[in-house]
Symmetry: C3
């Protein structure tokens, strides 16, 4: 189905309805051009109200109705929120965390390693799949929901962690040396002496524990996948809704999951993207989310399993924004846009994360605007599917560095995602689309420019790969706090940036907080450039006169730029504007708030998405003959196309 038209729909919760209205809802969906729903993932206690007693009446009612109305269904395994009887059966089933033992009520707080949890997960998954398999309109399965390790720190998890360490390091002496445990007398005399990891003052040990926790997520999803594989038809996909760091909205790399590894458990990548709206809508999160989701399965189209309809207060959209958001997802390569959720809930913690329908369950303004998108998608069918993009800029993202920076104790308050988004957002505003490249990659030769923000912890192989990339003609742009530590987060004890001094043509051994230095945020390195290194930027302060803030240096057939300071955003934008063309990346004349994204659709035609992220109308000068798909207007090169406030347009080029 995903090949012939964009999937468009919502999470659907018959079980939360104050009264059954499944027929009415399906009709409304069809009228809104919706063709897919996701069901079942939240309500284990509905499907199994008492241990061993199952009731799938409501699920069958929905699956039947969906089949009747030609609506496809994604069935989710309901394991992220356990029923009360299960919590009562196993008092230790909730994860003990850094904050102590858990309390029943919240979701996503169980211990993934608990054998009883696993046993009952398996039972409910198998029973649910048995119910779902007879339905040919079930097109795929979602494993669990935004799975995390839930900071499990109980005795079992810590014992597993010790085994994990033991396997890796063999002896405590090796571990002491790798992590520098001698500090404050923490070195181990035997494995039995390993203390509760929650008290550690050693960043390497804390980071290792988090890596272990991330491994639990991968293992858990892989385990669920194997169960699902015993049942599913070949045409049914398996997905998972990966999410992002949360800052009140989807902000950056998700710390708690190694998504690149965990994505092996699914056949198609999925994601959940939420963002501010109204006057705070910028489109950056949709773009960032897409770039990350696309990279999980090597550039393939991905599923937006959840995104906001009306959302909470700060997400309530202005007229036009729901359309703009939907087309922005498609511009990023989404094969599906699924709202969370169909109807606003009347109880409990998320009753103000509003769905397509408001609490009155009648089609209101949000429904109408979403329906207009649905009808466009229905009409345009395969002209929007299979979008492929090719980007000349890659940004290296590193979960290992993210964790290491979190534990770096530098008093800088630096957050990895703040640095990542600092670079990303400036490129976004310059209308330079990027790929997000995982730090397990070793070949970057496809990119004109590779941006490396805050690669705080890196192993020798990655560093060698980056040297090779540059030597062979690549353009490398790295920021402060890169190449500082080894893979354990232990600081390198040779010249910084370690292994890269010849590449960047500089070294440094001091840094400061940038207080009183114009244009610097909270971090500055006192760079000492070599003779053949060009200084791009210095520091405007008497104490740092002899140091550079940003440099460029030829290395092999390529060039290497080093940004030693966390500059204010405007200064970074100015710098990149001038610098990027020298690094093989032309900067378009059109800038944010008019976002332009290009790609080739499944029919081989070039699509150009125009997205106006502002409350002022803008106009765009068409560069080749094309059809504007939403209006059906034909345009000729040179024509001016007007976009209203928060407006979107899709240009399909004539010919190939």
């Amino acid at each position: 189905m995903l090949n012939t038209r964009i999937a468009f729909g919502a999470a659907y919760y018959d079980e939360y309805m104050p009264e059954s209205r499944v027929e009415r809802d399906m009709l409304l969906m069809r009228q809104a051009g919706m063709n897919v729903i996701r069901v079942a993932e939240s309500t284990w206690s509905t499907w199994e109200p008492r241990e061993g007693e199952f009731d799938f009446t409501g699920l069958r009612r929905v699956l039947d109705a969906a089949r009747r109305h030609g609506i496809s269904v994604i069935v989710g395994t309901p394991t992220y929120a356990i029923p009360p009887w299960l919590a009562r059966k196993y008092p230790d089933i909730l994860a003990e965390t850094h904050d102590g033992p858990g309390r029943y009520g919240h979701r996503q707080n169980m211990d993934l390693t608990h054998p009883g949890y696993r046993r009952h997960c398996e039972i409910i998954i198998r029973r649910l799949l048995e119910e779902a398999m007879p339905y040919d309109n079930v097109i795929g399965f979602q494993l669990d929901n935004e799975t995390k390790p839930y900071d499990t720190c109980g005795p079992r998890a810590q014992a597993m962690f010790q085994d994990w360490l033991r396997e890796k390091y063999q002896t405590v002496e090796n571990l002491n040396a790798a992590f520098g445990l001698a500090y404050w007398s923490n070195s181990l005399g035997s494995w039995e002496d390993m203390p509760d990891v929650r008290g550690t003052i050693n960043g390497s040990l804390a980071a290792a524990y988090e890596a272990f926790q991330r491994g639990l997520v991968t293992e858990f999803l892989t385990w669920q996948r194997r169960i699902v594989d015993e049942y599913r038809r070949e045409d049914q996909f398996v997905t998972h809704n990966f999410d992002y760091a949360w800052k009140g909205w989807s902000f950056g790399l998700q710390q708690d999951v190694d998504q690149y590894a965990a994505a092996d458990a699914v056949t198609v990548a999925g994601c959940d993207i939420y963002h501010l709206s109204a006057g705070d809508l910028t489109g950056a999160e949709i773009s960032f989310g897409a770039d990350l989701a696309r990279s999980l399965k090597g550039g393939e189209n991905y599923l937006v399993l959840e995104t906001q309809a009306q959302g909470q207060l700060a997400y309530a959209p202005y007229p036009g924004q729901l359309r703009l958001q939907a087309f922005s997802h498609l511009a990023g390569g989404a094969a599906m846009v699924e709202y969370w959720h169909w109807h606003s809930i009347h109880n409990a913690i998320e009753c103000y994360w509003k769905g397509i329908l408001s609490h009155d369950l009648t089609p209101g303004a949000a429904y109408q605007e979403i329906a207009s998108v649905g009808r466009d998608l229905e009409r345009l069918g395969s002209r929007l599917t299979g979008l492929k993009t090719r980007r000349s800029v890659g940004i290296l993202v590193s979960g290992r560095s993210q964790t290491a920076v979190k534990h770096d104790a530098s008093f800088s308050g630096m957050d990895y995602n703040e640095v990542l988004r600092w670079v990303y957002d400036v490129l976004y505003r310059l209308n330079i689309p990027c790929d997000l490249v995982p730090d397990m990659a070793r070949d970057f030769s496809g990119y004109e420019l590779l941006v490396v923000p805050c690669l705080y912890a890196a192993d020798r192989e990655l560093i060698a790969a980056l040297r090779r990339y540059t030597a062979e003609g690549g353009n490398l742009l790295a920021t402060f706090r890169s190449f500082f530590c080894d893979e354990h987060g232990a600081i390198r004890h040779y010249a910084q940036p370690w292994g890269m001094t010849e590449v960047f043509g500089l070294t440094y051994d001091q840094f400061a907080n940038g207080k009183n230095v114009p244009g610097v945020h909270t971090w500055m390195e006192l760079l000492r450039p070599g003779a053949d290194t060009q200084v791009l930027l210095g520091y405007d302060h008497y104490a740092y006169e002899s140091c550079a803030a940003a440099t460029i240096h030829p290395y092999g057939r390529g060039q290497a730029v080093y940004l030693g300071a966390w500059l204010e955003e405007g200064r970074l934008e100015t710098l990149l504007e001038e610098l990027l063309p020298r690094l093989g990346v032309p900067v378009p004349a059109v800038r944010w708030p008019l976002v332009v994204r290009e790609g080739i659709n499944g029919q081989g035609k070039k699509l150009t998405y125009l997205l106006n992220y502002s409350e002022a109308p803008v106009s765009y000068c068409v560069t080749r003959d094309c059809e504007e798909l939403l209006s059906g207007t034909c345009l000729t090169a040179g024509d001016s196309l007007g976009l209203p406030r928060w407006g979107a347009a899709i240009l399909e080029s004539r010919g190939q």
Copy 2:
């Protein structure tokens, strides 16, 4: 006594004195026109230093001295702070709360349901009453002190709560449906599966637990009342010092007690009112506190059992303010003004809540000013007692809505009392006196205008009563967030405002946070008025152009105003100034800071209190022949009366 003159006095703690000075204190009191003290309620460990060993020497010394000096006494039961031996005897006597188990030391942290606590309460109460009964100058009893449930959450309380739920809902299926427990798999398969309520993510369940907790307070006070009734003479009253939500001072409705229900346990309402002072003194808390206390026993005069003398730092009064405050309490209908407390304490947590005497225990400036009030009261006797007021505006206050809003998860950070005080304070500044009407009331026909702020949760009966009131000619003014949920805090799934769309002539299904919308604080509903609905206010923003912010609509013989937005205070004041006359409420020309309050005293004369809440002198034009009681001056209609900064005057009309 309360009929012949205003009771005036202080809480008196002989047991906290560094040395006995009861004779000297009583003399000073008499010289200050004081005629009442409250004793005994704080020091169980003094009366019973070891289990079963009683020592009332100090109490008798005070009761004897008071009798000798003609000072009346209110005796308080000393159950709000337990002695160390009792905490040692029952290690579980302190309430386990949301924050875990308690620690001995603080007051008001025991478990009201603890059988051992109850047993020992009964013993000390009976012994104390036996001591007190021989004294004819004991005029009444105070039950406990500002009783609350102290967030008791231990296993016994939770088991009692389950019984309470079971009785109300019979089956878990009923409970699941009423509260929407299906969300996140929280629905119950059996009563035995009920988890610890502290972890719940279901606002209805959390609110129900708080309602259960409030019931404990009513039950506890009723239980104490029954014991006291076994002893007291008919002429002795029973009271309790109800307090208010605390924001550093008495701010609004007390969340933790159902005062309207608990007031059945007393014969006369009492309250504790504290407020900012010096440059921050407005009088609003005194006025609000009076309006609430008066309503607890159907408009009867009430006792101010505690109010500040010198208080803490932010309460230290300017010259004149202590007089102004005292007369403000009387203007609100108080039959007694009792300071907390006579002397400043020299130890422990409240040693900087200063009394009438400072730490040096000599009569200082505060004593002198209070004494001038006392002498006025002595002189004026029954000319100030028995004040009855009649107010044409009622404000509906709803504890149920307060709790529901607290759990509403709307990301608005809305606090019920902030909305209540927003309306109340604007009316206060417009010099429009109000009654506060409980949401258990069903007949509002006595009011020209009924104001309904934030009636978030309401049952069908109340809604029907409000419809009836309006249909029969009442003027109704409701704010945003009203009529949204049922009595369990479950959101209504029909058109909003539920059950009232025809009354207000509008509906809406969307709301926003008001960011970037001029004049809006943090909440705005996108009202869609009907054809015969007049728009009073719109939103000044392109995205909300088609919506109304405030409307008026005829309904039956009455009118209904709906305020959809939390407006900035100045804008509300302007709106009400224009609107109130249309709703049958004339707006006086005199405004705050000159507060005017009228009533009829026990002799049938009209009293007018003039209260100047400013540091500038003001003058007031007298509207009828009268006597100014404090100065004894006779005035004629048309005379101008000057009030100094922070000044007060009382006009008694000539004739009836």
Copy 3:
């Protein structure tokens, strides 16, 4: 050694090095004029990796190398951070605190009263001393490291506290009376009823517990001293690195230790001083730290056992500042300046508290600047040692008042150190050097002026001593919140300031928070001066017109100034500028940022340190013939000496 030249060096951690480089490091040290290191105090787990298994290879390697290079060594006992096996052996060895039980990992979190901890401390101390004694270059020992009670609150500590109370007060009745425990029913009927002190609402009880805790530190250090005394040679000193209240840097009096008592356990006082740097460097903390450290052993020279090299981000120095700081320590009377630490660490919680060497372990800018100091010190030898100072102003510091104010519940948020530093810093800026005098002193006759900030709690003897001092011709200047409580923190119930009304010629019984009063911070007392009292300052507010804010009064042969208000700093500076000459203290014309400090060196010559705490060059007019020691320039009275930004100079007078 300390007599012939200034000791200059660093803490040295061979055991933290990623590879052994002891030879290279010693060479670098020698080249930098460094002659001392401190070792061994942090890594018990290195010296005893498993119980009873010792490994001092690394220690011997360092001691041998130091001996070879002529570097002296201070050996620290490694008891402040316990090894994992010890935490495993005694699960209760970590202190239970107000926040509950501890977790292994951090330092300084064990229970000093734990018998197992003591036993193993003794074993490791004795073994370490046996290793160290053969080395003649070991010049002294440091006991533990910045010892504190670590808020130990477990059952054993509380039982010891009860014994401590019992011994002091004999009966619970005495205790009840002294502390006013009757409040809120907390009075004790028997010692067995004593509750967990963590819950108390009685400030006297809380303060007594803290005094008990401080006693544990003194006892622990004394116990270690006795062990060390069994081993050490007569020429070897014993010291301890006392620290200061921490506010991100060394700020004021250390609340958790009674340093004046604990200093009996050492032969020479030591301290750790950290402070902001770069644009925030003022020198005040170095000066304050010196004045306190000097007073611990009666004015003797002291050791700076730790001060920052490059420190953390906010401590990163500008060029010149490391020199300025080093000479500032000497100006205060330091006999040693030892950096923390030699090399930047590559792991764990303090890896960004940078040493003399950066992480690359090569000599960088910080090393070079420190080396220039070292070479100056080497060259100047005994010309800088044995500095004696004589100060005409003393500031009385009171740990008892500090604790009492912390628990005073006055809603003022007052912190003792903020008041102390408020006075201290203004005097510092006026270039008036002070001694800090402990509140156990009784003879102040050596001072022209005794400043008494916030002496909130004082016993009769101290008050009598202050009366005597003034009567006999001393000048006394006390601030608000002095003489308010007895030694238990119980407020005096007579006229305030208690026992001093005749001295200051005033009384008061009211205070306020100073809101709306120009020039007042957060505290103001409404002073009522007597007839012969001169008002220095009033309050600019109608409500306080009749009160004084600051007064001066003759008493006996002396004068007494009372500051009733926490003035804004600028106003205090102006007041003191005018007032000090009247109190016998001339105010120099030279002001901060040029700090001038004088003293007599061990050869009887007068030294004048000039310290330019600013980024602007300044010049200084020389008042007598002298040699500027750092440059070797000879100067004549009247010459102008220029100091660059952040520059320092040392003038040695010709002749005596």
